[in-house]
């Protein structure tokens, strides 16, 4: 099974943030490495289906480098980065992305194109089941989908998710619980439809 995404560090250290803001390249890269995984999950929660997460993430990185100066308070960094990610994800279907060709080239170089991800060697029954749930999660309202997917990052707590979303921990908890209930219901409905179709197909086969 695929190794779950994990959070490395979480606290945006004020000193490191100041160094990054002052143009320290190493601090800037460290800041990005620390946060890019949850940013990718936020993109996943908000992007149109046809858009690749890594294409969008590249754009978020570009915006972070060029506009980090807008963030004055280290505490505001994560919500700012999330807003950047959401805005890029929401508008991604409406524009041509100049970075796409580069990322496509990078994926091809690494042998990690979209096709590889669908048909790659990591495919297993469990992963397929997870992908079906993830596809169903697209039908949840964003307010439920985002915290649910963020919780899929191992080690990310209700508190951390609440900090990102600007919500109390208890609200995050109830949204995740409701999101899971809705997802279970969607999965049960999808299974019922599949069973019904299979039954109908069997009947047709029997009568022919």
């Amino acid at each position: 099974m695929e190794t779950p995404v994990t959070t490395q560090g979480w606290t945006t250290d004020a000193v490191d943030f100041e160094r990054a803001l002052a143009g320290d390249r190493a601090a800037l890269e460290a800041l990005w490495h620390e946060h890019r995984r949850w940013v990718a999950v936020v993109l996943l929660a908000h992007k149109p289906r046809e858009t690749d997460v890594d294409d969008l993430l590249q754009e978020v990185a570009r915006v972070m480098v060029s506009r980090l100066g807008e963030v004055r308070d280290p505490g505001a960094f994560k919500p700012w980065l999330r807003t950047v990610a959401i805005n890029l994800a929401r508008t991604s279907g409406r524009r041509v992305r100049p970075g796409s060709w580069w990322n496509a080239a990078a994926r091809n170089r690494d042998g990690l194109g979209e096709r590889d991800r669908r048909d790659g060697s990591t495919t297993s029954a469990a992963l397929e089941e997870g992908r079906r749930l993830l596809a169903l999660a697209e039908r949840l309202e964003e307010g439920y989908r985002e915290p649910l997917l963020l919780k899929a990052i191992r080690g990310m707590s209700y508190r951390q998710i609440g900090e990102l979303l600007g919500l109390p921990e208890t609200t995050v908890e109830t949204r995740i619980a409701r999101g899971r209930r809705m997802l279970r219901e969607l999965a049960a409905a999808a299974q019922a439809r599949a069973d019904e179709s299979a039954g109908a197909a069997r009947k047709i086969e029997e009568h022919s």
Binding site: M1, E2, P4, V5, L28, E29, W32, R36, R37, V39, A40, V41, L44, V53, D54, L57, Q58, A61, R62, M64, V65, S66, G99, W102, A105, A106, R107, D110, L112, R117, T122, A126, L127, E129, G130, R131, L133, L134, A137, E141, E142, G143, Y144, L148, K151, A152, I153, R154, S157, Y158, E173, T174, R175, I176, A177, R178, R180, R181, L183, R184
Partner: protein
């Protein structure tokens, strides 16, 4: 969208009450349960509510497979660096990165050595910001070079005159492309392909004695129609 948000807010405010068991399961699955939550769970499960254990197992399974799918969907995130940043595992020099592609060239050099023209004289460097190289056209027999393009053009011109340079293949082989930090354009590393030719009289390959000592062994080349030789 606003209706959805309002619906969610109403739900947050308690108009869609969750069963206590659902929240309990959530906390257990998410590793957020307190000791009090565990006590509650043991109590409820101890009353013979066997379905609770099953629900916990199913919730854990769902979360595990969803986490795996999310990880799979964002795994390329590990490779997305900042503009201008070397990608992880790719911090080696350009030459190292070229090496796998240029394997054939390295093999050719190791496999065959000829006795003429391998080591051209190095140009002398002037103190005036440019390099001075020997050249019949320049006053005093030298040409002042102020850029690498000048040097390359001069090399090609002199090489053609000497019958060494055949020409430059217009296609350039791109090794890497990196978006610039300022967001404007890309830094591109590429190979320019210049074709040279030599007249070779004595050809050797590198052989090995029984003792393991490497020696040069006279050899011959197999002519090919394209003009490229092979051992």
């Amino acid at each position: 969208m606003n209706d959805n948000i309002n619906n969610i807010r109403q739900a947050d405010e308690g108009n869609d009450p969750l069963v206590r068991g659902e929240l309990l399961l959530c906390r257990l699955v998410d590793g957020e349960a307190s000791e009090h939550d565990w006590e509650d769970f043991r109590t409820i499960a101890g009353r013979g509510a066997g379905g609770l254990w099953r629900a916990l197992a199913e919730a854990q399974r769902d979360q595990a497979v969803l986490s795996a799918a999310v990880a799979d969907s964002v795994r390329l995130a590990e490779r997305v660096g900042l503009p201008g940043e070397r990608r992880r595992g790719h911090g080696e020099s350009v030459i190292t990165r070229i090496a796998p592609w240029a394997g054939w060239a390295a093999a050719a050099c190791a496999g065959i050595i000829w006795s003429v023209g391998m080591f051209a004289p190095r140009p002398s460097v002037s103190g005036g910001g440019g390099a001075l190289v020997d050249g019949a056209d320049a006053p005093g027999g030298s040409i002042r070079l102020v850029s690498s393009e000048d040097a390359l053009s001069e090399y090609k011109r002199l090489g053609k005159e000497a019958g060494v340079v055949v020409g430059e293949i217009p296609e350039r082989i791109v090794i890497s492309t990196t978006p610039r930090a300022d967001g404007r354009g890309y830094d591109i590393t590429y190979i320019r392909q210049i074709v040279e030719q030599r007249t070779v009289t004595d050809v050797f390959s590198v052989g090995e004695r029984e003792s393991g000592e490497r020696v040069l062994v006279p050899t011959s080349m197999t002519p090919t129609r394209s003009g490229a030789g092979s051992l």
